[in-house]
């Protein structure tokens, strides 16, 4: 849903070209243009936005020792601190190089990613303190965050044309809901704004203003319906506030799966009073805030902090009306904050205080995303071992949910069955045909239980297990989960092969970070 996504590369060339030749003498018609309110907005916008050029390079899932070809993205970021620019996390996910460029194209400087939240899809870029930053942000104006805009408010979508002129498109805030703007399932407050935009340079994501203040970041635009998704003002405000803390903790989670209670038979079975709404807790994630507060599957949440939750899971937000309950936890709270849940448990109402926490994605058996981190792997004698992650599953194609191996999908959907023995599922994903792997060429899509007799919890343990071959043994033994098959890999031969693979151009044979 990003039709303007392809343009930046083309336009980069276009705007670089004129740079060597000095502009014609009458280079400042903009300055002499009649001063209208639109022009004022244009001038203002230009003072607080910069172009962001990012080079992104993710890892090759099939061959985890190498990276995919780099891609470039351009967007507009908004100045929210003396040296800080905000943009989306998607813009800098797996970035190898991020550069800020002034809208007129005269100044460029390398930026650091100061903070990134892939779940909320927000990132803060920063220039190091010093003259460089001073020069770059010279004459620029730090943006204030707008007050939370009500529905039907007119917002201004800011773009910058190649020549450095701002392009302001007014759009109406149609609705607010929790939506995923980047990673599936990560729901945060998002606006739908109706505006007829034109394609322009640096448009991967652009800032959205409200009366000269930052009101959101546009993350995608549907040119057919002329609807754009805009990351909401309160989310940006909270992200910036959290970023100022010593350690960024991100947006908290309750750690439950819930079901609506519209079903009248189910309600009477649970004996929920007709006057109440409520959502049914069907699962409590181990180690989560809900688990610590001893919430149980079967509990029904009637209200959060006194906000009644209806049968479908909505509460009444004072500004945006009906919003899903997650907003009361993820949107309005920080990690460490307490919420009070009004529960219905076994036919009785009760109040339970819960201290919200955030569980790192990396604590999952099968993480849903991995950015900025190289995937762990091991190659031994030609056998390729990897940790199971959602990106690995997604490599099976668009319909990976039906095409990926069943045992992998099972580990993803029923982690409880594996977590006792594994922190990560180690998978044999393929076999490079070598002398050591003769007869094993067809092996793939298997999960490892033991190597050299040692159980393996993660990649580190796998690598250690291969290093700990008993003295008496001449071959490594590899055991698989759910299969009574043990295969053997000649030690000397596989060492030779490993060396040979390094000579054949593999930079490294293992990674566990």
């Amino acid at each position: 849903m990003k039709p303007i996504y392809l343009l930046p590369l083309l336009l980069l060339v276009a705007c670089q070209k004129p740079a060597p030749t000095p502009p014609p003498s009458s280079a400042a018609p903009a300055a002499t243009a009649p001063e209208t309110s639109a022009a004022a907005a244009v001038a203002d916008a230009n003072l607080s936005v910069v172009r962001i050029n990012a080079t992104l390079q993710n890892w090759n899932v099939a061959q985890p020792w190498e990276k995919n070809p780099p891609r470039r993205r351009r967007s507009l970021g908004a100045l929210v601190g003396e040296r800080e620019v905000i943009t989306t996390a998607e813009m800098v996910a797996d970035a190898t190089f991020v550069e800020l460029e002034s809208t007129d194209g005269t100044r460029r400087t390398r930026a650091e990613v100061a903070n990134v939240d892939y779940e909320a899809n927000l990132a803060l870029l920063e220039l190091p303190e010093g003259d460089e930053a001073k020069t770059f942000f010279q004459n620029m104006k730090v943006l204030e965050i707008a007050p939370t805009p009500p529905l039907r408010e007119t917002l201004e979508i800011i773009q910058v044309e190649d020549n450095g002129q701002s392009l302001v498109t007014a759009g109406q805030l149609l609705s607010a809901d929790v939506r995923a703007t980047f990673l599936p399932g990560q729901l945060f407050l998002t606006y739908r704004v109706k505006a007829s935009m034109q394609s322009s340079a640096s448009s991967f994501t652009v800032p959205v203003f409200n009366e000269g203040k930052l009101a959101g970041i546009l993350s995608s635009y549907d040119s057919k319906d002329q609807i754009s998704d805009v990351i909401a003002t309160p989310l940006i405000a909270r992200f910036l506030m959290e970023s100022k803390k010593e350690t960024y903790q991100g947006f908290p989670n309750l750690g439950v799966n819930i079901n609506p209670t519209e079903d009248i038979h189910f309600r009477s079975y649970l004996k929920i009073p007709e006057s109440e709404g409520g959502i049914y807790i069907s699962k409590v994630r181990k180690g989560s805030a809900a688990d610590t507060a001893k919430l149980q599957p079967g509990d029904v949440i009637l209200a959060i902090d006194g906000n009644p939750i209806d049968r479908r899971g909505y509460y009444k937000d004072p500004i945006y009306g009906a919003l899903p309950w997650v907003q009361l936890v993820r949107g309005n709270k920080s990690a460490g904050d307490a919420v009070t849940l009004s529960l219905w448990r076994e036919g009785k109402a009760m109040e339970v205080p819960v201290t919200l926490t955030r569980q790192e994605e990396s604590t999952r058996l099968v993480p849903n995303y991995q950015f900025g981190v190289a995937p762990n792997f091991l190659i031994k004698g030609g056998m390729i071992f990897q940790e199971l992650t959602r990106p690995l599953l997604e490599a099976y194609g668009e319909d990976w949910e039906s095409r990926a191996p069943l045992n992998f999908l099972d580990a993803m959907s029923n982690p409880e069955a594996y977590q006792e023995r594994h922190d990560r599922m180690i998978c044999l994903t393929g076999v490079i045909p070598t002398q050591a792997t003769v007869g094993y060429e067809g092996l793939r899509n298997l999960m490892i239980s033991r190597v050299n007799g040692k159980p393996v919890r993660d990649m580190k343990e796998l690598i250690a297990a291969f290093g700990a071959l008993p003295l008496s043994a001449k071959a490594h033994s590899i055991e698989f989960l759910d299969e009574s098959l043990v295969i053997y890999l000649d030690e000397k031969m596989s060492d030779l092969i490993d060396e040979n693979l390094l000579q054949r151009g593999l930079h490294q044979l293992s990674r566990s970070e």
Partner: protein
């Protein structure tokens, strides 16, 4: 892979009456050896009217359809054809080449696992004078020429094509989707309608034409004589018993490090047993970790192949040619010790889980608009299940012996919208774990739990992979059933018998 194969019965109704010319006067020939013209008369056209059950609306009668295939006379009132020509058939008509008369027939034996069937006619007298095909013993040689006779698409009359034997292999038989046997590939065009026709060499049958490839031209597959003869022998006792199976999964022992670790000599022999299906022929006799080095008197190589009549074939070919009750001698290395283990072969009916079923009425239970069906390949092919639990139970049903616990894997397949169930979350395609606290192990049991003598206050249905139960008040079930029956035109709320 499987989708490449195409069964060759000519489907679609073709009721057009054929304007036939009178048959040519039979040429006289020396006694015993029939002439080509006479042989043609023994290749018959089989017209079948079928009724194919509908697994997405199992209470319906199904689809009325039909098709044309070929058959040939192999004995007194015995016509051999393919199982897929007559599957789900309700009426069978046999026509002699060049005759307008249609003779009523019936199926005497049908073997879905090897795609063969035997038909007989009500009145054999018009056929009595016809020559009878004799069936050879050997597999036709590579590069030898064969003739295929049948009634394929493209005309009403008999058609003959010639081809060369281009491959002999162990390959899937597409009719059941679950079986592989010896197969002979020829380069003659075999087309829909050819199915069940004889493949001849020197006027002797060397195979039965049965399937082709959709993605390649001039590739036809025939069922060779070992498979045909096995079928004919199997039915001699008046019923068909199906193929037997060892019930073991093997892993090739090619890797030198692996052979060394298992202390095997470097002689290129032996495969490792990695799984033994519970209750199968080998259960209790062979264990995972055993190395199979021989079957009867044939050494098994590291790839699991043996040598029969100068051809390398899969070791299971030995079992292929045997019958239930026969013994096979397995030579086994277990913990370094060589031993010979006689295994009595038996069929494993549960392994038909993966075969398409024919001549069966779908089983189901409807309860307040909720449809419950047992998992089988017919259902699996109709409803594309995404649920990981359903797919996992399906794929492990035989190898892990789940059938010992679950006679059926009962699936909640559909919600027929009704006042009572409209507010239920539509968890379609999930496995039923328990009803009112009792674990569900078969459809019959599910039906008893859903329609008990004295109903509880609520029916509580738990599904696998769903963390909340479905609850329905017992007092309103009857009224809901009455509405569902009427609105969805369901004459019976359950069918528990497949035949």
């Amino acid at each position: 892979m499987k989708s490449l194969y195409l069964c060759l019965a000519l489907t679609g109704i073709s009721w057009a009456q054929t304007a036939t010319t009178p048959p040519p006067a039979p040429a006289t020939a020396p006694a015993g050896v029939p002439t080509t013209a006479e042989i043609y008369r023994s290749v018959v056209r089989i017209e079948v009217a079928t009724q194919v059950p509908n697994y997405s609306a199992p209470w319906n009668a199904g689809r009325f359809s039909g098709g044309i295939g070929t058959g040939f006379l192999i004995g007194p009132n015995k016509f051999l054809t393919n199982a897929h020509v007559v599957s789900n058939g309700e009426r069978f008509l046999i026509t002699i080449y060049g005759s307008p008369e249609k003779h009523q027939a019936k199926v005497d034996f049908i073997a879905h696992d090897c795609d063969l069937a035997i038909l007989s006619v009500e009145d054999f007298s018009p056929f009595e004078k016809l020559p009878v095909f004799s069936i050879g013993q050997a597999v036709p040689e590579l590069e030898s020429q064969v003739r295929v006779i049948g009634y394929p698409i493209g005309g009403e009359r008999l058609s003959v094509t010639r081809g060369v034997v281009s491959r002999i292999d162990f390959q899937p038989y597409s009719h059941s989707r679950a079986d592989s046997h010896l197969i002979v590939q020829i380069d003659a065009a075999i087309n829909p309608g050819n199915s069940g026709g004889p493949v001849l060499q020197d006027n002797k049958v060397v195979g039965v034409a049965f399937q082709g490839l959709t993605e390649a031209d001039n590739t036809g597959y025939i069922i060779p004589t070992p498979v045909v003869n096995r079928f004919l022998k199997d039915v001699e006792d008046g019923r068909y018993d199906e193929y037997t199976d060892l019930g073991v999964t093997e892993f090739p022992l090619i890797n030198p490090a692996m052979r060394q670790a298992l202390k095997l000599p470097n002689n290129g022999l032996g495969v490792l047993v990695t799984n033994v299906t519970p209750t199968s022929s080998c259960d209790g006799q062979i264990k995972p970790g055993d190395v199979l080095t021989g079957i009867d008197d044939h050494p098994i190589d590291a790839n699991g192949s043996i040598l029969i009549e100068g051809e390398k074939v899969n070791m299971h070919e030995i079992v292929e040619r045997k019958f239930a009750g026969d013994t096979v001698k397995l030579r086994v290395l277990r913990g370094g010790e060589a031993m010979e283990i006689p295994v009595t072969l038996k069929t494993l009916p549960q392994s038909r889980m993966y075969a398409i079923r024919y001549e069966e009425k779908p089983r189901y239970v409807v309860f307040a608009g909720l449809v419950f069906q047992p998992l089988d390949t017919n259902l699996f092919a109709t409803a594309s299940f995404r649920d990981v639990t359903v797919r996992r139970l399906y794929s492990e049903y035989v190898s892990k012996g789940l059938f010992q616990e679950f006679e059926d894997i009962v699936i909640l397949t559909d919600f027929l919208a009704d006042d009572l169930n409209s507010s239920l979350p539509p968890y379609k395609g999930k496995v039923v774990k328990a009803i009112n606290g009792t674990a569900v192990k078969s459809l019959d049991q599910a039906e008893q739990l859903l329609y008990p003598q004295s109903p509880p206050e609520n029916f509580v249905i738990e599904l696998m992979g769903v963390d909340r139960p479905l609850v329905l008040p017992a007092s309103q079930i009857k009224a809901a059933n009455d509405r569902v029956r009427k609105n969805y035109n369901i004459p019976r709320l359950s069918n528990l018998k497949a035949r």
